[in-house]
């Protein structure tokens, strides 16, 4: 067993996936090295190639146990930062509605229990507030 340990297993990469992984100065065509679809990283043979590509695999999140959102010894903070940037780009321009749970958090029921109390509160809010000037939109930061 190599120094990377038995937990470093690269599995379930579809054979048809044209995943070309660049790393350590060489290019590794992933399906060609993954005949059984589940490859343990061992010293020698094709495992040697995978071992050389481990940083790239980890960087791309293709290594079992490597979460692209979790920095590891190869990616440090870079992977997480890049994925965060991608996530922001992908949501850009789309309408993001808040989840029902979040909306429930932000929803406040009427503070007054009876309809009469609520009606009186609304009346207090909207009646009798007189000022000497006309309020224009530029007075609250609009055009």
């Amino acid at each position: 067993m190599d120094s990377l340990g038995p937990s470093r297993v690269w599995e379930n990469l579809p054979h048809t996936m044209p995943a070309v992984i660049f790393g350590l100065g060489e290019t590794l065509l992933a399906p060609a090295c993954c005949g059984a679809g589940r490859v343990e990283v061992r010293s020698g043979g094709r495992g040697w190639w995978i071992e050389r590509a481990v940083p790239s695999l980890a960087y791309c999140g293709l290594l079992v146990g490597s979460d692209p959102f979790e920095p590891n010894r190869f990616t440090s903070q870079r992977g997480a930062a890049i994925m965060e940037g991608v996530a922001k780009t992908q949501t850009n321009g789309k309408i993001e509605r808040l989840s029902p749970e979040r909306l429930a958090e932000l929803t406040h029921p009427p503070a007054y229990k009876t309809v009469e109390e609520r009606r009186a509160a609304l009346k207090r809010a909207t009646e009798g507030f007189r000022v000497k000037v006309r309020v224009t939109p530029d007075m609250y930061g609009r055009r």
Binding site: T91, L106, L122, A125, F129, R134, V135, M139
Partner: protein, 201 residues
């Protein structure tokens, strides 16, 4: 979204362009409905020219029992308006140049308290959803760059959409820069033509 009487609720019609007059007593009210600062200012301050239109519409919202959606930005804008009222009362048209004048601040403070107390009373009277700016920060700039809408308008529009409503009540025609497929504008009848004219084709 079609109400029981078969009338279209939101503006997809090429005639209406998603802009409707709040004076129309038959105007359907979606639940929830978003309120813009311009509408709240007119509704709360009795001396405003559109108070006679906005106050009854707010009462109609109250009577219907629907929820209202507001951005947290609204409270800040109201405070700014109250401060500016005090300056404008003292300095007239030159109020912008006297912002740091301490003589206006006591009056500004009282007006600010009056305004926010009334705003809170309004919120307490019905179910309301208060959307923090942080929840709309990602979409508001997109509205600005895609449609040329002003930043504050973009924040309020994003607030409405984030809360799941496609309708905002406002007296600011700037919201009409957004397409009708995105946001329906409820405004006073005098602004309906200009809003429809602004709608992107």
């Amino acid at each position: 979204m079609t109400p029981p009487d078969g009338r279209r609720l939101v503006g997809r019609s090429p005639v209406g362009r998603g802009v409707f007059a709040i004076e129309d007593q038959e105007l359907p009210l979606p639940d929830p409905i978003a309120l813009d600062t311009s509408f709240v200012v007119e509704a709360l301050i009795a001396t405003q020219p559109l108070h006679g239109v906005c106050d009854p519409f707010l009462t109609r919202i109250f009577n219907s029992g629907i929820s209202i959606v507001t951005s947290e930005l609204l409270r800040v804008e109201l405070a700014e308006a109250a401060f500016a009222i005090a300056l404008k009362e003292r300095w007239g048209g030159k109020w912008r140049g006297h912002r740091t004048d301490g003589r206006s601040r006591p009056r500004a403070g009282r007006l600010l308290n009056h305004t926010l107390i009334r705003y809170d009373e309004m919120l307490r009277s019905m179910t309301h959803i208060s959307i923090p700016l942080g929840d709309t920060a990602s979409i508001a700039p997109t509205f600005m760059t895609d449609y040329g809408i002003a930043s504050y308008d973009a924040a309020h529009a994003a607030t409405a959409l984030a809360a799941g409503t496609e309708t905002i009540v406002t007296t600011d025609t700037g919201f009409a820069l957004l397409p009708a497929s995105l946001l329906t504008v409820y405004t006073d009848s005098s602004r309906v033509p200009s809003c429809r004219k602004k709608r992107p084709r």
